[in-house]
């Protein structure tokens, strides 16, 4: 290892100054569950490591009346144990509670999951469905970027080497909205057998009033599934909405994954994922007061 300098970060400001000083030589370490493995495999060889796991300002979940802001250093366990995520946000809690093992959830952070940008990062589809925005800071100032755009144009929007991901913010789901999450395959399973779907659906008098759908491991990066949204918007939940969703997602996949060997398998796999997500929307709906 080439590592020769380490810092116990004590404030956001201090970390941003260290990043400015060391730039590409430095790496942030939060839970370490991705980066320690990467360093040992020789995939990453930073000269400087800056630990952010003990910075309190990064590990807070701020709950306002209409919005929630999750510090980048919040762990999966912290999120799952926080009572502020009402029943209609169950999809986010479900995604976090299915990550790795208790030990991984106790250390792994939401910020690490996003900054690491793996296609199979589980917290990302539900956060995209919620319209989450990232708050990113450096000594040059702060900027915000929509999580959905972040992955679309990672080259333009991705973290620069002097930048720190500070928090992830979103509006709370409304009373009549439900966030679902469904997942297929383990993280280490072959890429072909992995996929996740998260949906935020608002229903009014039995009609799908608003809908956001996001997927993980179905494309090159986590993304919105706009065609699925279009196919379901305005429909009655008594219609055959599963068929509509399956047809439109398969059509998008046919274009996106044309010629890939994974396509035939994934075309079938998403049927059960969409079914689970829609079923959850209905089950959860009965628990949310309408």
């Amino acid at each position: 290892m080439t590592l020769n300098q380490v810092y116990n970060g004590s404030s956001i400001q201090q970390v941003m100054e260290l990043l400015k000083e060391y730039k590409e030589d430095a790496k942030i370490i939060a839970g370490g569950t991705d980066i320690v493995v990467a360093m040992r495999e020789g995939k990453l060889a930073p000269k400087v490591l800056i630990d952010i796991s003990k910075i309190e300002d990064l590990s807070e979940i701020k709950v306002e009346r209409d919005s929630i802001e999750i510090g980048a250093g919040v762990t999966y366990t912290q999120l799952v144990e926080n009572g502020a995520f009402g029943k209609n946000l169950k999809g986010l809690i479900k995604a976090c509670s299915m990550v790795g093992s208790p030990q991984i959830r106790n250390k792994g952070t939401i910020g690490g999951n996003i900054a690491n940008a793996a296609p199979a990062a589980d917290s990302i589809p539900p956060l995209i469905a919620l319209g989450a925005r990232l708050k990113i800071g450096s000594t040059r100032g702060y900027r915000e970027v929509l999580l959905e755009d972040y992955f679309q144009k990672l080259k333009d929007h991705g973290l620069r080497n002097d930048e720190l991901l500070i928090s992830i913010g979103f509006m709370k789901a409304k009373d009549k909205e439900i966030l679902s999450f469904s997942k297929l395959g383990l993280r280490k399973a072959l890429a072909i057998s992995r996929a996740t779907i998260s949906m935020l659906i608002g229903i009014d008098n039995g009609i799908i009033h608003n809908i956001v759908v996001a997927s993980g491991s179905i494309g090159k990066f986590p993304m919105r599934e706009i065609e699925v949204e279009k196919s379901l918007l305005g429909r009655s939940i008594d219609e055959d909405i599963l068929d509509l969703a399956v047809d439109s997602l398969q059509e998008s996949m046919d274009k996106r994954l044309e010629g890939r060997s994974t396509l035939p398998y994934k075309r079938r796999a998403i049927v059960s994922l969409l079914e689970e997500a829609l079923r959850e929307s209905n089950i959860y709906r009965s628990e949310v007061k309408l």
């Binding site: 590592l3 370490i29 370490g32 569950t33 630990d51 366990t77 093992s101 030990q103 991984i104």
Partner: protein
């Protein structure tokens, strides 16, 4: 080199560490606390599980310098004045141990679970142990041991109350 301060099993330590060291290297190689085992070295097997600031973690995925200021419990910290912890006793009595390599990690995961949820269901115990692999046993005996430990811990509390 760098000096860090931490508490391990209720003892204060000031130690010089190499910046490249992981917490498991500090525990085993520097401090001789070899009860914590290294299996996979990549977060999959749980043999290296310890309790750090109240939560179970894989010590193979923590850099030693990150433990600066932390409070750590390892398997060596469980016995009390020569008496085994009730969880250790339950593992022995239930015959939950074969080769033993995974056991320190399993016992620490059991402790972390029971510290937070004193009354877990069998399913919750299984989930609490899901980050620990055992190549010898079928996990059922470890779950039996956890259930027995729950009883011991309750009795212990009653004994404590009775002695007042």
């Amino acid at each position: 080199m760098m000096e860090i301060q931490l508490i391990i099993n209720d003892i204060n330590y000031k130690v010089d560490i190499d910046v490249n060291m992981r917490l498991i290297d500090l525990l085993r190689d520097k401090l001789g606390l070899t009860g914590t085992k290294e299996g996979c070295g990549e977060g999959e097997c749980g043999a290296c599980t310890i309790i750090m600031d109240g939560e179970s973690v894989n010590s193979c995925l923590v850099m030693a310098f990150q433990a600066n200021g932390s409070n750590i419990i390892t398997i060596e910290g469980l016995e009390n004045n020569g008496e085994l912890d009730p969880i250790q006793r339950a593992y022995m009595e239930e015959g939950s141990v074969q080769c033993g390599f995974c056991i320190p990690g399993l016992i620490i995961s059991t402790k972390a679970l029971l510290d937070k949820h004193p009354n877990p269901t069998r399913e919750e115990i299984r989930e609490g142990m899901s980050g620990n692999l055992c190549r010898c046993t079928g996990y059922n005996k470890a779950i039996d041991a956890a259930q027995k430990a729950i009883e011991y811990l309750k009795e212990g509390q009653n004994d404590f109350k009775n002695s007042w």
